[in-house]
């Protein structure tokens, strides 16, 4: 069990090798087989993980490049485990959403490996390596298998995120020259007493902030996202929104917030404003979209905005927050990370199903689907209701806790953010009206309802949504101790 994390990182890579050598029509099967193996490993990791112990677990440490303080250091805490489980859930789901060939599967597996690496690496050099390693496959996947405007969207995506990464790398070099370490744990401890001083601190902060804000994305660094998500093939959109966007949030939790508490406190209100803008403007923009995929993309920004609101409320607010509120907000953010991953991927999956059947995905290209495909409409509605935060489904738990925690700390910002909840509901209600109701559109009259293979994908995911919505304790158990630890760190 000692090398389970390394195994998690390496098995997708091995899978990528196998897939690239497999016969084209076996590629997806092989990739799914490897994912089954990975899922088993992830479950073993979950079983092995001690939810009550603080700090990193199952760490592996090897010297790598001692000269620059880079070492191979991986380990998991509650947040990492949560994201590993999420990745293991979303990636196979994404494979099932696309008819994919060898190249596609290979790149996806490489990306998966990079994701595991990003979520477990505890040393900046290693982390950055994996962080960038996920970028290239994503770029190629959009560029080669994307829809209309794929070149433009892929280039925009790549340049945007790469620029952010470069800024972040420079900042970290600055930190390294000042402090001589790349180790996250050590840096976090140093960060409590102010890592850097003066202009250098602000420069380093700005660089890292830029890199992560682009990745999340946070308003106004989000404009690559609608294009990229809209153009990417369904499976890639699912992974992008389900897991890749979480890398940014993860980065905020792991890097920026512990390292620069002082800077964040000073510009706190501005950060909160950005988060609220993400929430409100993205939901409004989602309402105005005509393209379903673009709408879901904007709602993705909106939902990650809630995560950022919670995080900034905990760290950026000038008010000294009560412990329980910080715990509520952080728990909510972690819940939201997982729930948004599941729900947004499911939504992209459904949009993909509609697109497969119709060839188009404009909101007005459909009509009266309820009469023709009641099952598709029913299950899709569940995903939509989950996304708009209907109680009883998974989305509500995270949003409630985020709002509970943030309201106590930053009441006015939170009150404005509630508009986002409302407009999200409007956007979905409009979409449901346009898609499902009215008389059956002629172009949709030959739609098949859900196939057995599609049901096999949808039903477990939907059941998971219900399970989290009704009895979320099993998820909280994963990260409760981590929440307590971070509360102490940020307090």
């Amino acid at each position: 069990m000692a090398h389970i994390i390394t195994a998690l990182i390496l098995i997708p890579l091995a899978g990528a090798l196998f897939v690239s050598a497999a016969r084209p029509n076996h590629a997806r099967g092989t990739a799914l087989g490897f994912n089954a193996l990975i899922a088993i490993l992830a479950l073993i990791l979950w079983r092995t993980f001690d939810g009550t112990a603080a700090g990193l677990q199952l760490t592996e440490r090897h010297a790598w490049i001692p000269a620059i303080g880079a070492e191979y250091l991986v380990g998991v805490d509650g947040l990492s485990l949560l994201l590993i489980l999420l990745t293991s859930l979303i990636v196979p789901f994404a494979f099932l959403a696309n008819h994919s060939g060898r190249g596609f599967c290979t790149l996806m597996l490489i990306m998966q490996s990079a994701l595991y690496g990003t979520f477990t690496a505890q040393n900046f050099v290693l982390w950055f390596l994996f962080y960038e390693m996920s970028l290239i496959p994503a770029f190629l996947l959009i560029k080669i298998w994307g829809g209309e405007n794929r070149d433009r969207a892929a280039t925009k995506f790549f340049l945007y995120t790469f620029l952010g990464s470069v800024a972040m790398l420079l900042s970290f070099l600055g930190i390294y020259f000042a402090k001589g370490t790349f180790d996250f744990g050590t840096l976090a401890v140093l960060g409590k007493g102010g890592l850097l001083t003066g202009k250098l601190a602000w420069l380093a902060f700005a660089g890292i902030f830029l890199g992560l804000a682009v990745k999340v994305p946070l308003f106004p660094f989000h404009t690559w996202l609608p294009d990229a998500y809209e153009t990417a093939p369904t499976g890639v959109s699912m992974v992008l929104t389900g897991v890749l966007s979480k890398m940014g949030v993860y980065g905020f939790v792991r890097l920026l917030l512990p390292l620069f508490p002082g800077q964040i406190k000073i510009i706190g209100p501005w950060l909160l404003t950005l988060a609220v803008c993400s929430i409100v403007f993205a939901s409004l923009a989602a309402w105005a979209q005509r393209d379903l995929k673009r709408m879901v993309a904007y709602l993705s920004i909106n939902h990650l905005g809630y995560c950022m609101l919670g995080l900034f409320a905990v760290t950026a607010s000038p008010v000294v927050a009560a412990k329980i509120d910080m715990q509520a907000a952080l728990s909510g953010v972690f819940m939201q990370i997982f729930n948004h991953g599941v729900t947004a991927s499911a939504l992209f999956y459904f949009v993909g199903l509609l697109e497969q059947r119709r060839g188009l995905r404009g909101i007005n290209d459909f009509g009266g689907l309820m009469q023709r495909t009641p099952l598709l409409c029913g299950w899709m509605s569940v995903a939509m209701f989950s996304s708009l935060g209907l109680p009883g489904l998974n989305g509500f738990i995270g949003e409630f806790l985020i709002f509970k925690g943030s309201f106590a700390i930053a009441a006015s910002f939170t009150a404005v953010a509630v508009i986002g909840l409302l407009v999200t509901a409007i956007a979905f209600a409009r979409a449901m009206q346009a898609l499902f109701s009215g008389s059956l559109a002629e172009s949709c009259s030959a739609f098949p309802d859900l196939f057995r293979s599609e049901k096999l994908v949808i039903v477990p995911v939907t059941l998971l949504m219900f399970a989290i919505g009704i009895a979320p304790q099993f998820l909280f158990n994963i990260f409760n101790t981590t929440v307590l630890q971070m509360t102490r760190l940020f307090a």
Partner: protein, 657 residues
């Protein structure tokens, strides 16, 4: 025994919910199975409700709670639970009983619908969620069920989804109520922040108990008003009432169950449930938040009554009467008459369900015609419907003595009359009573008397499966008047936790005569105006402008369209536009700058640096070309060259030495 029942109180909502899930998984063709399952679920809920109700009949002021931790986050747990007290028990009885009647009625009414099973699944789902609202002992659990109720309402309004108007109405209802719910949500957050708990009752630590209320302090007013926002949305109070009349697009049993008897009353129930928040710090029974409740209630009640006079759709008239009655209940709560308001709620649940089912029967008999101008003379054709409808009409108008609505209305009037803040609500309520009697008389005359018109030519009495629930509900409306009689204020005492004494003298009160006179005046006025009612409305002929104003719902929908909705849509378009042009434009400008810089350096490279290098390479290539011509590749030529060179060297050597 008590413990066991309270602990397992969740079974009451769970039974219909489970039924709903099972029905959803049935094939669309298993129609009878669907209906039977739904009714079994409802009967189970009713049986358990009776059991729970019988518990609360014990000493006045019975209250039992069962709290537990839903989940732990960080170091603390989020606790929810259920409560059994007279308020909850009375609501449980009303919902389960009215629900059952409506379920049975639906079997007849929806008999021809192709999505029959789905209809019962939704109805059961609604029933479960609504029962959940009632027993919740946590504001959060209440909110959860509250939203599920909203979802059920959304699904049922849009049940005939192929009708665009139904889908639009469903969307409108969902969004309008959600506007209120967002206020409610903020209220929950605020309350949670201040009191640290969302449990209503928790052995003295709940947010409605002393400790919680003290922690709230001055913010109670705001919390109460925010929670009231939710009630305004759900209960169709001004200014969020616009969805309720549109919701009549749903099947009539839905209108009866959700948009008359139960769900819309949830707002009133909510205010009654968290009443301590409203009345905290009351001086003489008046607080700012309660005053707001009274004003909203009065405005709603009067406005809706006036609009009802100008409507021709049989269900819309009833919808506006619902809105106005809900306003009345709010007024009652606002002036301190919680028990009166709740009693009216329960009585209203029965007789309004009765009226809606009667309307459903009429519509069913008249081939889905909704316009009362096209009906007429149905009295003889549909006698049972007529009689039961008349009972409902009397109860709604507030005819005292034998009809349940009368007593409760009178009690509300009584409470309003003694409100210390102002007498205005009292007088306006009196006007409202006249108006209610007026528009109900108008409706009765149009539908049941006079000549038959277009739609009533082939009208027929409905099947027993539909008339039986009518009879049951009508009997309830009359029997309730016994329970509600002020001479033996048993229900009043039950709700307020006081013991009741029998005192016949209380019957003879000035307000009794006042309300009797007002109702009589209203009915008489109605007869006077509408006696000769025909295709056109007499009032329309007399006062066209005023009538137009009422008929068009005071143009509130248009006003909202032009202001709020237009504004938010513009905001959405603006967001999209700024996203595409401003933010993305900035990015493009940044990229463009890069491109310009790139092309500049390219040019510099080409023209400046590269030119010299190019020259050098060209020269080198030229030399190379010449030299390469000498290299023929013929070894013998190379050898000859070697030979000649050696000879030359020898000659040179010889010459030098």
């Amino acid at each position: 025994m008590t413990r066991a029942i309270v602990t397992n109180l969740w079974l009451i909502p769970a039974a219909p919910l489970a039924a709903s899930l099972i029905i959803l998984s049935l094939a669309n063709s298993r129609r009878s199975a669907g209906a039977v399952l739904a009714i079994i679920g409802q009967v189970v809920a009713l049986t358990l409700s009776i059991l729970a109700f019988s518990l609360t009949l014990q000493p006045p002021g019975f209250r039992a709670v069962h709290n537990f931790t839903w989940f732990m986050f960080g170091e603390q747990g989020l606790r929810i639970g259920w409560v059994l007290d007279p308020l909850a028990a009375a609501m449980l009885m009303m919902i389960a009983l009215v629900g059952l009647c409506i379920f049975i009625f639906s079997i007849g009414y929806m008999a021809d619908d192709k999505n029959f099973t789905r209809f019962f699944a939704y109805l059961s789902f609604f029933s479960g969620a609504m029962l959940g609202v009632v027993i919740a002992n946590s504001l959060l659990l209440l909110f959860v069920c509250w939203e599920l109720v909203g979802l059920a309402s959304y699904l049922l309004i849009g049940f005939w989804i192929e009708k665009p108007s139904a889908a639009a109405a469903a969307k409108k209802a969902f969004i309008t109520t959600r506007i209120g719910d967002m206020g409610f949500f903020l209220g929950i957050l605020w309350l949670y922040d201040r009191s640290g708990t969302l449990l209503f009752y928790d052995d003295g630590r709940g947010c409605l108990e002393n400790a919680g209320l003290i922690a709230l302090g001055a913010s109670a007013t705001f919390v109460a008003l925010l929670i009231f926002c939710g009630a305004v949305g759900k209960s169709g109070q001004f200014p969020l009432h616009v969805w309720l009349p549109d919701a009549m697009e749903g099947p009539t049993p839905v209108s009866a169950l959700i948009h008359a008897a139960t769900m819309v009353a949830a707002g009133v129930f909510l205010v009654a449930r968290v009443y301590p928040l409203f009345s905290l710090g009351a001086i003489n029974g008046v607080t700012p938040s309660l005053s707001v409740v009274v004003s909203i209630g009065v405005i709603t009640a009067l406005m809706a009554s006036l609009i009802a006079i100008g409507q021709f759709d049989i269900k819309r008239i009833l919808a506006y009467s619902t809105v106005s009655q809900l306003g009345l209940m709010m007024v009652s709560l606002g002036v301190g008459g919680v028990a009166a308001g709740m009693m009216h709620l329960i009585a209203h649940g029965f007789f309004k369900a009765l009226l809606f089912l009667g309307a459903g029967s009429v519509i069913h008999g008249c081939d889905q015609e909704h316009d009362i101008r096209k009906m007429g003379g149905l009295r003889r054709l549909m006698p049972i419907t007529f009689l039961t409808y008349a009972v409902g009409m009397m109860a709604l108008s507030g005819m005292p003595l034998f009809f349940s609505g009368g007593w409760t209305k009178e009690e509300i009037l009584h409470a309003t009359a003694h409100w210390p803040a102002s007498r205005l609500p009292y007088y306006l309520m009196l006007a409202g009573i006249v108006l209610t009697a007026l528009y109900m008389t108008r409706q009765m005359i149009y539908i049941f008397s006079g000549n038959r018109r277009a739609a009533s030519e082939h009208a027929h009495e409905s099947a027993p499966v539909m008339t039986m629930p009518l009879i049951v509900l009508a009997s309830c409306a009359i029997v309730l008047s016994v329970i509600l009689t002020p001479a033996w204020p048993w229900l009043h005492g039950y709700l307020t936790g006081e013991s009741a004494r029998f005192d016949i003298a209380v019957l003879i009160q000035p307000t009794l005569f006042v309300s009797l006179a007002l109702v009589a005046a209203g009915i008489a006025l109605g007869f006077a105006i509408y006696r000769k009612a025909a295709e056109t409305d007499p009032l329309e002929d007399a006062q066209p402008a005023l009538f137009r104003f009422f008929e068009n719902k005071m143009w509130l929908d248009e006003l909202y369209d032009r202001t709020v909705i237009a504004f938010t849509q513009m905001a959405a378009r603006m967001s999209d536009w700024t996203d595409r042009n401003v933010w993305d434009g900035l990015v493009r400008a940044f990229g463009g700058m890069g491109q310009i810089f790139g092309s500049f350096t390219t040019n510099f490279d080409e023209r400046g640096i590269n030119a010299g290098v190019d020259e050098a390479t060209t020269g080198t290539r030229g030399i190379g070309r010449v030299m390469s011509a000498w290299h023929s590749g013929q070894i013998q030529i190379y050898l000859r060259a070697v030979g000649v060179s050696v000879l030359l060297l020898l000659v040179l050597y010889a010459w030098l030495t």
